[in-house]
Each structure stands twice: as structure tokens, then as C-alpha cells.
Amino acid sequence: MLRPTLFSAAFGGFFSLMLLSCGDDNTSTPNTQTEVDMAVTGGGMDMGVDTPGDELATRVDLLDSIAVNVYSPTYVEFRESLRTLDAAVSEWAQSQTDEARTAAQAAWRTSMTIWQRAELMQVGPAGAQGRRVGGEDGRDRIYSFPLSNACRVDQELVAQRYDGETWTTTAQLNVRGMDALEYLLFHTGDENTCPDVVGINRNGEWTAMIASGAGEVDKRRAAMAQVTVSMVAADAQVLVDAWAEDGVYRTALSAGSVPFENTKQALDQVYAGMFYLDRMVKDLKLAKPAGLSMECESDTCPNAVESRFANASKEHLVANLVGLRHVFEGGDDDSYIGFDDILEVEGAAELAATMRMKFEASIAAVEAIEGTLQNAVIENHSQVQNAYDAVKALNDDLKTQFVTTLGLSVPQEGAGDND
């Protein structure tokens, strides 16, 4: 009879401790806010949550808000901007004037700024095949950075395969998207970007093309740009349709339905999209040109900037951060439900506020870089370093407390069990 007595004592002791702890927040790590909260509720187990379903609604609302107020309008805005770009490129193709080219360049900048916001939204068909739920490489088809390859575009200008009927289905990623378009619109002159050993130079094909007629290379650039814009528009339409009101993903994201297993996985996928900040924005777009990355062999690598021809790397970085902020806040309107609202619901309002401040600081630090990023990594390195540090600070929060507060799964860590 000794054991039951001991167990009763153990039970009684622990439940007594629990009641004591709930009645008086007497922890070893005092928290002023907690003490205030407990005082307001009078202690006990009144946790101040109205119904058990509140948070579920908030998380589902978050996913709904991201689909409706962030993903869908961004893709629609991008596709609409392509109409202007298409018209401008067509005008350039016809007139071959500098004014028309400048107008096409301006239209590309507008479209690309929108797309840079969408870079943080690689969920569903925009995601990489085999790595994201429903991934169809949509993003890579529209923009292939860091695989961008101007020499490959030059090779296609010589081969003129873009005129063929099968081009839309056979064109490789690095000659079919906005990065190829950047090169076609912004690279002027008769030079190409390929080394001498590449066929078009070694065999004299490029020289022959230049010699075939005045302005031939620009004609071909414009012609290929026309085809490229229409391909990008078609790829953008796929994303617009997927996230349209009657599209598969718009409802699936918040319902956690097929192709998602559940809303947790859907939320993890949204988070996976936000991870772009880590590898792409911080490492590839800032650390590499600034010489902080192993991939940079010299002190700095100005040619590793994202936008070498349009010199829009800084603007792209700002757009990336704005895009991420939209996902974080659930859109560009304070009334929309975002991750910041979920953090507040979870009792982590300080983190939400801190991250909002770090968004502002990151954007300000990038905007503070004088001149182009390509020049700044040499002439104003400290400004680039500041931008990198600000982005890293934001990224650190995104990878740590943000994850442990919301119970998110880091992209692709799901293999295996836990205990």
C-alpha cells in the first residue's frame, strides 16, 4: 500500500504546485508584461482568449490575406505591366529609335520592380519543381537569376532560334525571362559578352551578323525582346490564373487543401518563399558583390551584382524587401492580416514591432547606398556593408524567434523524425 500513497502524494504535490504557479506568477525570470497581464485577469487560468477557434481563424485568415492581398494582386500587377512593356518593345522593334528603346527600358524597370516583389512569393507553381509543393518552375521561367547568362542570349541572337515555332517550349531558362530581356534592352553597341573561345566569336558568326547590315544586331535584339515579352506574359498568366479568385491555389492555400496537405504545410510554404531573403538577397545580391562571400575571389566583385546592364540592383533589393514586408504584413494596407498580427496573437508583439523596425532599417540602409550598387561596392563599401548588416539582422529574426514562436518548419527540413 506504500506505492499508491506515494503516487497520491506526487499527484497532489504537483497539482498544488500548478495551482500555486497559476495564482502567483512567481517565476525565476520575472516578466513585467506577464505580471501586468496576470493582474488584469486576476491570475488563475483565465487566459483572456475568447474562443478556442480565434487563432485558427487568424492563421487561416493570414493565408487567405496573403493569397488575396499579396500574391494575386502582385501577379496581376506584373502581368498588367507587361502589356505596357510589350507595347513599348513592339514600338522599338518597329521604329528602332533611341526614344523607343528608352521607353522600353523604362517599361522594363517598372515590370521588373514589380517582379522583384514577387521573388519572395515562390509558392505553388512559381516554386521550384520538386522542392516546393506544386512547384512548376514558374519563377525561373520568368526570371532565372543567378543563372542569367548574357552570352547565351548573344548566341541565340546569332542562331535566331527565337523565330522558330518551338522556341516557347524549348528555350532554356536563361534566355527566356526578364533577365534576358534586361540584356536585350540595355546592352547597346555591337559587342557581345562571350569569350573568344565561344563559337560565335571563334567561328566569326557574330562578326558576320554585324556585317550583314547596319543595325542588324539591334533589330535582332528587338525581335528577340518581342518574343521574350510574350513568353514572360504567358508564364505570368499561369501564375495569375493559379491565384485568381477561381484559381486552384487561392482557396487551397487558406483551406490547406490539395496540393497542400494542410494549412500548416501551406504556412510553411509561405515561409519557404520568404527564405529568399537569406540565400538570394543577403548572400547573392549583397554579400557576393561586397566581397563577403566565398564565391568572390577578389576583395570585391562588382560584376556579381544582380542587374549589370540596367544598373537596377539597388532598386531590386528595395523591391525584394518591400515584397517581403507585404508578405509579413499581409499586404500594403494596415487592415490586412499578416504575420505581424499572428505574432501579436501569440503574445510576441515585441517581435512583430522589432521586425517592422528592421524592415524599415533594411530598406533605408539599401536606399542610403550612393550611386549604383556596382560602383558602391568599390567606392562606398561601408554603405553596402551597412545594408548587408541591416538585412542580416532582419534575416536573423526571420530564422530564429519568428520560427520558434510560430512553430514553423524551415524549408525542406522535414526529412526524418524528431524526439
Binding site: F14, N31, T34, D37, G53, T263, A348, T354, D417
Partner: protein
């Protein structure tokens, strides 16, 4: 004869008394089949590819750096051998050799990458090691069917007690791991995990309630602390085993905890009476009064006592170290600290060339797969291991002799991220002494579920 020596000889007599070996055989069969299914699941889930083929870098246990990671075909053969061995253990064929082959193959599979460590893999190795030393093949086995000797259905009582002791240690230390501020006063990480599982049908909407997180945290502690006692007491055993099924069923349904619940549900069958399988299947229960008494030699007795002492003390070693073990991980492994922390870090290695001060920031994602990165980001010894590899990689790339420091920001149970390791320390100068440079967990409480909705 003194009172002490009389007690000892009485204890020895009690431990060597013959009991029906049926429950031990059932333990062997069930555990063997669980491991067969676990390893088949490992193959079918594509984890060979994800955990052992795709990574380009593997974390090594000290002293086991030589252990190779086979090519994919070799890995499949390796796992195939382990499956066959587990099956042989289950059916009781070439029992001791099969046990040994399973232990070696399973242990080496797990040791290929230290970041794959799981408490329940460690438990499996321990239980099979105990089985290796026990006559678990005397009943319901191919070995016994093929043997020309008379059936010997009895086993000494100590084998049952030893397995019970081992299972009890898991529960005891799992309970002790829960006795802390985070678990008891903030219901963390339970609250975080429950809040992230609102997608579950029916119960999902209720999982966000802070009250539930507190109830489940405390219930988990009470369960771990008391279940062994209730399983030992015959009058409560059936109800206690129902509680085992409910508890581990709930953890299996709620968390990505894999085989652990099934292993524990299997392991706790050892608390039933030694003849429970015969009673369940209405087989004849052998009369123990007809059984010959067993002897236990002194070396085996000493080995048993040492084993038990080790299992009783080793998991508690972190109490001899400074700081919070959930934070500094010093003594975290092999200590049955199951599912007691939600931890994630952001790690950046700061590599500085000695000759000119040139600095590189290295993202460990360059070397690691996401799961490895996730595991490594909160574990100082793994962080140091990768630092050494980065040092070697820089030498290989001809970038000169470098110092490798780390900016390791880690969040534990929803706390704001804090530095885990002194960022000024050159990790290359540190071997396994890294714990000297682990910074203390800031005096900040974890995420408080009572602040939900405010």
C-alpha cells in the same frame, strides 16, 4: 552471516528465480518487428537519399571519423542487412548473431551523421544490447524449434527486471527533463507546438487554448513520473497500459515523433506478468516450481550493476555542468530529454585571414542540407565541427590560413534570439572545449501563452 550479507544473498536468490520467458520472447518479437517496420519506413520515405546521400558533409562522432558513408547502393545493402537481422531477432533465428549484426548495422547507420541523433535510436541500441545478453530466444523462436535439446521456457527473473529498469530510466529522466520553468510555468514548447497544429481535424481549433498547453505539459510530467509505478502495480497495470496507449498515441498523432511512441508502447509490455503472451493466446503456462534454479556468476552480476549505475547516473551528468542544458546542450544527448525544446538558430561563420584581416561571411547552408542545418544551428559541438571543415575548405581553396569565428543567434522556446557562442573565439583553436565559450542563456522568459490574444 550478517544481516547485510543475508539480504544480499536473498536478493540474489530472488533475481535468479526462474520465471516464464514468454514475455521476454514477446518483447523480442515485437521490438524486432517494430525495427523491421521502422527501417522499411526509412527506405520507403526516401530518407536514405535525404539524410545520407544528398548531404555533402557529415557530422562525425568523436573517434568515429573513420566511419564511411556508403554510396547509395551500399547504404541500401546496409539497411537491408539491418532489416534482415531485425527480422531474424523477431523470429529468433541465429538469435545472438542476429542481435549483434543488428546492433552493429543500426549503430553504424546512425553514427554516419551525428546530426541524425535521436533519443529513440539510442534506446533501440540499448534495448537490443540488453537482449543480446538475455536468453530471449528460449520461447517462440526458430532456434528453439530447431534445437535438439529439451525446451527450456524459463528465464531468470533479473532479465525482466533489467529491461523494466531500463524503460523506467527513460520515463524518469523524461520526467526530470520536464521539471523546469519553461515546461511548467510557461507550458513551452507545448504551447508553440499545439498552436502550430490547428489544422488537425476536430481538435484543431481547441489546440490554441493556453489552458490546454498547461494541462498537457503538466499531464506529460505526471505521466512520465508515475507511469512506471502504475505499470509495476498489478492492480493498476491494465489501466496504466491504456494510459500508455493514449499518451503515446496522442504524441504520435500530434507531433512528428516517428517511431518513439511505438517503441515505448512495445517496451512497456515488459511490465506485464511474465506469462502474459501465453494467457492471451490461451497457451499452457509452464509450472515454475518444476524449473531448475538459475545461477548468476559474479562477473555478470558486476556487469549488471555497472550497467544500471551507468544508466542511472549518466543522463544526469548535465547537473554537473553550468548553465541550462536546453540552451548549451552540454549533456543533452543520451539523457532522455525528449521533445522539451523548440530551438532554432541563424548561424554565420566569420572567417578572417590571419595575414591581412580579409573577412568572409560563410552561410553554413553552403555545406549542409536543411535538416542538418536546422539540427546544427542550436548545438555548439556541431557548430565547431563545421568550423573545422570550413577551415580545411579555405585551405583547399588556397585562401590562406584563417580564423573561423561564429555569429550564432539562437532562439529557445520563443525567446528573442541571443548569442550562443562568444563571437570573438576562434573555433579552430577549440576542440571539444567549446562549452567553455558558450554564453549563458539570457534571463528572459520564453514565449508566454498567457499573453495570447493581447
Amino acid at each position: 552471516m550478517t544481516n547485510g550479507s543475508r539480504t544480499l544473498s536473498g536478493l540474489r536468490l530472488h533475481l535468479t528465480q526462474p520465471v516464464d520467458g514468454a514475455s521476454l520472447a514477446a518483447f523480442r518479437i515485437l521490438l524486432g518487428l517494430v525495427m523491421v517496420s521502422g527501417l522499411v519506413r526509412f527506405l520507403l520515405s526516401g530518407w536514405v537519399e535525404e539524410l545520407l546521400v544528398r548531404p555533402s558533409y557529415f557530422f562525425k562522432y568523436p573517434g568515429l571519423e573513420w566511419l564511411p558513408v556508403w554510396e547509395p547502393q551500399g547504404l541500401h545493402i546496409h539497411i537491408g542487412v539491418a532489416i534482415c537481422a531485425a527480422l531474424c531477432v523477431a523470429v529468433g533465428f541465429a538469435y545472438r548473431v542476429s542481435c549483434l549484426v543488428f546492433i552493429m548495422s543500426f549503430l553504424s547507420l546512425q553514427a554516419m551523421d551525428m546530426s541524425n541523433y535521436l533519443n529513440h535510436y539510442y534506446l533501440v541500441v540499448i534495448l537490443f544490447s540488453l537482449l543480446l545478453c538475455m536468453p530471449a530466444h528460449r520461447n517462440f523462436s526458430v532456434d528453439q524449434a530447431l534445437s535438439r535439446r529439451d525446451p527450456q521456457p524459463f528465464v531468470p527473473r533479473w532479465v525482466i527486471y533489467l529491461l523494466r529498469f531500463q524503460v523506467a530510466m527513460v520515463y524518469l529522466y523524461a520526467a526530470i527533463a520536464k521539471i523546469g520553468t519553461d515546461w511548467l510555468l510557461y507550458a513551452q514548447p507545448m504551447s508553440i507546438w499545439l498552436s502550430a497544429r490547428t489544422h488537425l481535424p476536430v481538435i484543431g481549433p481547441y489546440l490554441t487554448a493556453p489552458e490546454l498547453a498547461f494541462i498537457m505539459s503538466w499531464a506529460g510530467l505526471v505521466y512520465d513520473l508515475t507511469i512506471v509505478g502504475f505499470l509495476l502495480w498489478a492492480r493498476t497495470r491494465v489501466i496504466a497500459y491504456c494510459a500508455v496507449l493514449v499518451f503515446h498515441g496522442a504524441t504520435w498523432a500530434l507531433f512528428d515523433i516517428g517511431m518513439f511512441p511505438i517503441i515505448m508502447v512495445t517496451a512497456t509490455t515488459i511490465f506485464f506478468s511474465p506469462s502474459w503472451p501465453r494467457k492471451m493466446f490461451r497457451l499452457r503456462v509452464p509450472d515454475t516450481s518444476l524449473a531448475p534454479s538459475f545461477a548468476i556468476s559474479k562477473p555478470w552480476l558486476v556487469a549488471g550493476v555497472i550497467w544500471m549505475a551507468f544508466q542511472a547516473v549518466f543522463p544526469a551528468r548535465h547537473y554537473f555542468y553550468d548553465g541550462n542544458v536546453l540552451w548549451n546542450e552540454n549533456g543533452m544527448r543520451y539523457a532522455w530529454k525528449v521533445m522539451v525544446r523548440e530551438k532554432m538558430g541563424s548561424i554565420t561563420y566569420r572567417v578572417v585571414r590571419h595575414t591581412d584581416g580579409r573577412r568572409w561571411d560563410v552561410n553554413p547552408a553552403r555545406y549542409l542540407e536543411p535538416r542538418q542545418l536546422s539540427e546544427m544551428s542550436g548545438q555548439p559541438d556541431l557548430i565547431v565541427q563545421l568550423a573545422h571543415f570550413i577551415h580545411q575548405d579555405f585551405a583547399r581553396l588556397g585562401k590562406g590560413d584563417v580564423a573561423v569565428k561564429v555569429d550564432a543567434l539562437v532562439s529557445l522556446n520563443g525567446r528573442p534570439a541571443a548569442r550562443l557562442i562568444d563571437p570573438d573565439v576562434d573555433l579552430i583553436q577549440e576542440g571539444w572545449r567549446i562549452h567553455q565559450h558558450v554564453l549563458p542563456l539570457p534571463n528572459v522568459p520564453p514565449l508566454d501563452p498567457r499573453r495570447k490574444g493581447r
